[in-house]
């Protein structure tokens, strides 16, 4: 039993005192930013990334991963208690979760969200352990054309889940790709788009981009409309599910887990898609669909399980192909690279302790999250009342120090301001920042693989369609694009996002 030995190695790594500590720090911070308004896991991971450089690679990744899936738990707490999803993936949870809270069943809603998430996290962790190794083996056979097509698919898929206009999302990707190319050309060393600034030779610092676009721009948008948050439930009681509630929720949890595990692998934010999809499935197959929207526990159990499962399995493309499926994953790629590890199919072979340790830590982290979120819910409820005006100066402070400690380069700090403005203007013009960041990270990779593929094919672009895997991946990209542009899907997509806003 290979997998057991591997998981054994993973748990030995994950359960070392240092790693348990930082896993705890990660999920704690994750829950915190999930609960607190106006700061998401992307900005948090970006800010904390520089600090983790002094850690062991596995410790750094365990903590950063903890922030990511921890935020999924925290986001559902705010969705249920104050009808404000902390994370876009908990937007559907707010529909029925908030109604349950109004009926005095906030405790049950929180419990089913936490337990469902834990179950989903456990299953999805197993899924990662089972499916990542064969996928990595397959990915080892990938050449430059396959990687090129895979990146294209990843970028295209991220459009489906961007808010608003598809064209704008496409444009944001291309802009991100271009910004990613700033710096010295890998083959000739020619500095490109550097304005003669030496600081730009190594490219724009991606921490600055992430903090600017997801941190500063987000704060600016929140400051447009400063409003108070109403906390409905001051004290949460009755964390136990009634027998009836348990009977109603176990099947949705199972279905949500399955759906989330599959959709999470999709590049581009499967966790949001999976929570919406599982909610509509539950509503459709329910014998009493009219209860949905009025506090149906299934409407909390299914999407919460789905988004947590997806959060775990979205590590699969990262760990096997080195491809980020989410802006946070894009930052994780950066974390790998700074630690001197190239994320991709080789990680599992070259760094087994890191690979399996990270996977095992996800399960450990999920267990901690249940303990953190249920018995200690009172603390989080109190956190909800922290006013935003106290929070955002702290975000700016951490962003500046974090970026500066990266390599004591003040240029990176000015870049935060620049990308803050660019991000704010673009968001104001109705463009989502997530595709931009994905494009930014993948830009250099895309160019490198394209140029290598063209050398292999002696300048014949047909190589991308004559190699079967590459052709299949490109065909999928085209299919995704066509489907997104179909009027029916477009309407559906708009509905989903209107509900979310």
């Amino acid at each position: 039993m290979d997998i057991l030995a591997n998981l054994g190695l993973g748990f030995v790594t994950a359960l070392s005192p240092v790693n348990v500590l930082y896993c705890f720090v990660g999920v704690l911070l994750g829950t915190l930013v999930g609960v607190l308004p106006g700061i998401g896991p992307t900005a948090t991971v970006a800010m904390l990334l520089p600090i983790t450089f002094s850690f062991e690679p596995v410790t750094a990744l365990i903590m950063l991963a903890g922030i990511y899936y921890g935020a999924q738990y925290g986001g559902s707490t705010t969705a249920i208690l104050i009808n404000l999803p902390g994370e876009s993936s908990s937007a559907v949870t707010a529909i029925d979760g908030y109604q349950m809270a109004r009926q005095g069943r906030a405790g049950a809603a929180l419990a089913v969200a936490a337990l469902g998430s834990f179950f989903a996290g456990t299953v999805a962790t197993m899924a990662v352990a089972l499916f990542a190794p064969p996928l990595a083996r397959m990915a080892l056979k990938f050449g430059p054309p396959e990687y090129f097509s895979l990146i294209v698919l990843g970028l295209v898929a991220s459009i489906i889940l961007a808010h608003g206009s598809i064209l704008k999302a496409l444009a944001m990707i291309v802009l991100g790709l271009l910004l990613g190319l700033v710096g010295q050309d890998i083959y000739t060393g020619t500095p490109r788009f550097t304005f003669g600034l030496f600081e730009l030779y190594s490219g724009i610092n991606f921490v600055s981009v992430a903090v600017g676009v997801f941190g500063v721009a987000e704060i600016l948008r929140n400051l447009e409309t400063e409003s108070k948050r109403e906390v409905l439930v001051k004290k949460v009681t009755g964390l136990w599910l009634t027998l009836d509630e348990f009977r109603k929720s176990w099947a949705p949890v199972l279905r949500g887990t399955a759906l989330g595990s599959i959709l999470g692998i999709l590049p581009g934010g499967g966790h949001i898609l999976s929570s919406f999809a599982s909610y509509s499935i539950e509503k459709r197959i329910s014998p009493t669909p009219e209860r949905f929207g009025h506090g149906a526990i299934e409407g909390v159990a299914a999407p919460e399980s789905a988004n947590n499962a997806a959060a775990q399995t979205s590590f699969i493309p990262l760990l096997t192909l080195g491809l980020p499926a989410h802006p946070v994953m894009a930052l994780m790629v950066g974390a790998f690279i700074v630690q001197g590890i190239t994320p991709g199919p080789n990680v599992i072979r070259d760094e087994p302790a890191l690979f399996w340790g990270l996977i095992a830590s996800m399960w450990v982290g999920n267990l901690m999250l249940v303990l953190l979120n249920l018995p200690l819910i009172g603390i989080w409820v109190r956190m909800l009342t922290i006013p935003y005006r106290v929070l955002f100066p702290a975000i700016i402070a951490f962003a500046c120090i974090g970026c500066y400690s990266l390599d004591q380069n003040v240029f990176d700090i000015y870049a935060i301001a620049v990308f803050g403005v660019i991000g704010y203007v673009l968001v104001k013009l109705g463009c989502e920042p997530a595709p931009l960041l994905l494009g930014f990270v993948l830009g250099p990779l895309l160019e490198e693989h394209m140029r290598r593929a063209m050398i292999i094919s002696r300048g014949d672009p047909m190589i991308f369609v004559t190699r079967p895997i590459s052709a299949a991946l490109l065909a999928m990209s085209v299919a995704v694009l066509v489907i997104t542009f179909l009027p029916m899907i477009r309407r559906k997509r708009e509905e989903v996002f209107i509900e979310e806003d």
């Binding site: 104001k428 013009l429 109705g430 300048g459």
Partner: protein, 151 residues
């Protein structure tokens, strides 16, 4: 008026970015499809971006939009962007303590609901906290009080 100012502006912005990148790429060696030079890929992307911008702008002129534009918070914009710039300018000279205090003050005052008193308390607490964590906890090599202030 059945047009969307937002789409129009977004389209124009993308066009400007795309053209700027494309024109700049022409200054680099383009190479051939077989051996692409440093300018090849960015030139192609720049053109694609400009084209996308054109379509978005054209849609903005013809398609009706129902959009709510909030006021731009100018004070917040100036203070929030000024804060990191101030941090960058003074971190080496003033040291982490004073720099952070002013940075937090500036960003805190970006909120219209913030009072000077609260901002000062917040800035003081955050500065102490950050110095403790980063300088003493994580040993980031940055002086607490910089050379400009030591006599």
């Amino acid at each position: 008026m059945r047009n969307s100012v937002r789409d129009l502006l977004a389209g124009l912005a993308f066009m400007a970015f795309g053209l700027a990148f494309a024109i700049a790429s022409l200054g680099y060696d383009l190479g051939t499809a077989l051996r692409m030079g440093p300018g090849y890929f960015p030139l192609a992307l720049g053109c694609v971006l400009a084209l996308l911008g054109l379509v978005i702008a054209a849609k903005g002129l013809t398609d009706g939009g129902r959009e709510v534009m909030h006021r731009v918070p100018w004070r917040a914009l100036l203070l929030l962007l000024g804060a990191p710039i101030f941090f960058g300018l003074t971190i080496k000279g003033l040291g982490l303590g004073p720099t952070l205090f002013v940075t937090v003050m500036m960003s805190a005052l970006a909120s219209r609901e913030m009072t000077i008193g609260t901002a000062m308390v917040l800035a003081l607490l955050l500065t102490v906290f950050c110095v403790a964590i980063f300088v003493y906890g994580l040993s980031v090599s940055v002086p607490v009080i910089g050379p400009w202030l030591s006599f």
